[in-house]
């Protein structure tokens, strides 16, 4: 993630068909740009957690949060405070590795990044890197020379640190 204006919003929604459309459509209609969006199960049954990153100014973010909060299927929405959150992104990267010299160089780099090699073939390596978006960017930068064949990034998922949870109030 760029150090710039990117903000992370955590949204708890009803886990049912159409909700992703409702939320993403709201962003489109209100002219807010989504940088990344991840959706998956939350700690509660029938509730999914969306993590949305947005590159907008503070006033717009306040609007985003208020507009998302209005959606009937949204239980809770909060901007996660910068510096008070943990965030991770996972990337799967297939890299060119035509010979054993290059392969071992890449494997060394993967180890430095605490990544994992998932698949090896005669001329490519597929690796997994997990971390902040900056870390993944840095790894990708180092792979430029070898050549990235395929890349899949999940987008950011995040939680607030410590007691500052985004939960449904019982």
């Amino acid at each position: 993630m760029e150090a710039g204006k990117t903000k992370v919003i955590s949204v708890l929604v009803e886990n049912k068909p159409g909700v992703l459309y409702e939320v993403s459509n709201l962003f489109r209609r209100r002219n807010f740009n989504i940088e990344s969006i991840t959706v998956g199960a939350s700690e509660q049954k029938d509730v999914a957690r969306m993590t949305i990153t947005v590159n907008e100014d503070e006033r717009t973010i306040i609007q985003v949060v208020k507009q998302v909060a209005k959606l009937i299927d949204v239980h809770e929405v909060k901007e996660l405070e910068r510096g008070n959150l943990v965030m991770r992104e996972l990337a799967l990267i297939k890299v060119n590795s035509p010979n054993s010299k290059e392969r071992s160089d890449i494997i060394n780099t993967v180890e430095v990044f605490r990544g994992r090699v998932l698949d090896v073939s005669t001329d490519s390596l597929t690796v997994e890197i997990t971390g902040t978006p900056d870390k993944i960017d840095a790894f990708l930068n180092l792979m430029k020379a070898s050549g990235v064949i395929e890349l899949a990034r999940t987008g950011i998922t995040a939680l607030a640190r410590g007691a500052k949870s985004v939960r449904i109030d019982e």
């Binding site: 159409g18 459309y21 459509n25 609007q63 208020k66 909060a69 209005k70 959606l71 009937i72």
Partner: protein
Amino acid sequence: MTKMSGAKALLESLERQNVKVIFGILGGAILPVYDALCCDTKIRHILARHEQCAAHEAEGYARASGRVGVCMATSGPGATNLVTGIANAYMDSSPIVALTGQVPSSGINSSYVIGRDAFQEADIIGITTPITKYNFQPRTVGEIPTVVNTAFYIASTGRPGPVLVDLPKNVQAETGDVVITDKIEAKGYKSMVEIDLTKISEAAHLLMKAHKPMILSGGGVIISNASDELMQISDLLMAPVATTFMGKGSFPECHPLSVGSIGMHGNPAANRLMSEADVLLAVGTRLSDRATANLDSFAPNAKKIHIDIDEAEIGKNIQVDVGIVGDAQAALKLLLPALASKLRKDESNAWTKRVKEAKEQLSPLLKERPKDLVPKALLLELRKLLPENAIVTTEVGQNQMWSALYFQALKPRTFISSGGLGTMGFGFPASLGAKVACPERTVVDIAGDGSFIMTEQELACSVAEKIPVTVIVLNNSVLGMVAQWQRMIYNGRYMAVKLGKTPDFVKLAEAYGAQGLRVTSIEEFQKAVKTALKSDVTTVIDVPIGSEEDVQPFVPPGCGLPQQRGDY
């Protein structure tokens, strides 16, 4: 638990919601519901002649009565024809529930099911998601009562708006176990927020210190029935009250403190005073671009207090000093004692004199009105001819802005117009809905010839269903408002605005079995309106006017309210 069809469960649930009338048009995918309407229901069905009109009729009904309006259509084109009406209700925060038929959600050995591009299939859930508060597609008969209850609850509470219920045909037709209940299921929905009392005292503090307080009253004041509270506060503060276009009627425009509506075609007194005020109390308004004009010169000298039930409206368009989230009436009820305990009414201050003066500057212009049949004279005359509680709807364009400027609304829910979406053709079907809601009252649609043609086929509905209203067609044979813009901003290069030989509206009315009258003088106009008000069929009064008549005054695009040009 009882065994019944989905259609029957729907009608019983609607009756439980106190639905008296549905405006609709049937078709293949909604036939089971119409079949159930045949027998044992007290609900009246009014056959619209176009689904768009059914939605506008439901909205007219809702806005005149304060109750939820209901419209119904079949799948596919029936549903998509509702879209303009639903979007209109969404923009103007009107509570309507739209029921649509849908192709079956399942079927054995058939491709007549959702997702297969079946005959008359349209993804109305996807289409209406951005223009409804919520929409439902029940997949089992048993869900229907809760879906209906929740739809009505969401439509009518908080900031009201349209809700759509899409009913797959098999769900209407199948028999299932049904419990008719009052159950509501909307877990993430917060209809009411507790008002922050510290904000109330901050607002009271600002208002008490104000030398030039001003109130801006929006449509939310009408929706929450807050007119009395608003008047008490204005009276206590001796604050002039301007309304937004949607707020017209929330404060009696004959009141000494009323300065009319603000905006692009606002009342000059309202627009002028807005720039002079030192504290502005804006209630139930989203401060739209047409109301505020250029944001930099909107009430530039005023500390701003904004009350709205929709938290997202606070700070959306205008940065405010105090934002109060809550129901307008509830908030004003809290604000009133906070002010009354510390404030003594002062009628002799300089601001009161200034308000009077700003209003008096306009009155000669109103007195020396022309004897000709011009919109201003006609609308001033119309006010005198109509009872105080008559309901007026308008179309969109010049007819609408002239009505805003010159026709005084005296009571809430008596001025119904398409404010946010600006839908030409809204006024006539809305007038029919209003008349159905309030059959004992006079209902008049102020129309232009361009707008009226868009939904004129509802004359058939009005005659067949015996819903008599009066339509006054300000007939200038031109799409007047855009023509005015082409005249003023595009150096008079007219393109696609001249309507040529418009239909003979008298004959048109007669062809539908309605009454048609044409007038060429104020005296004839008076006579025609009196005839129309006594008629038991709808009357269309054709009023030929000049095709180059402008709506004045006018705030040019990009300018602020103080840069208003032209005479009142």
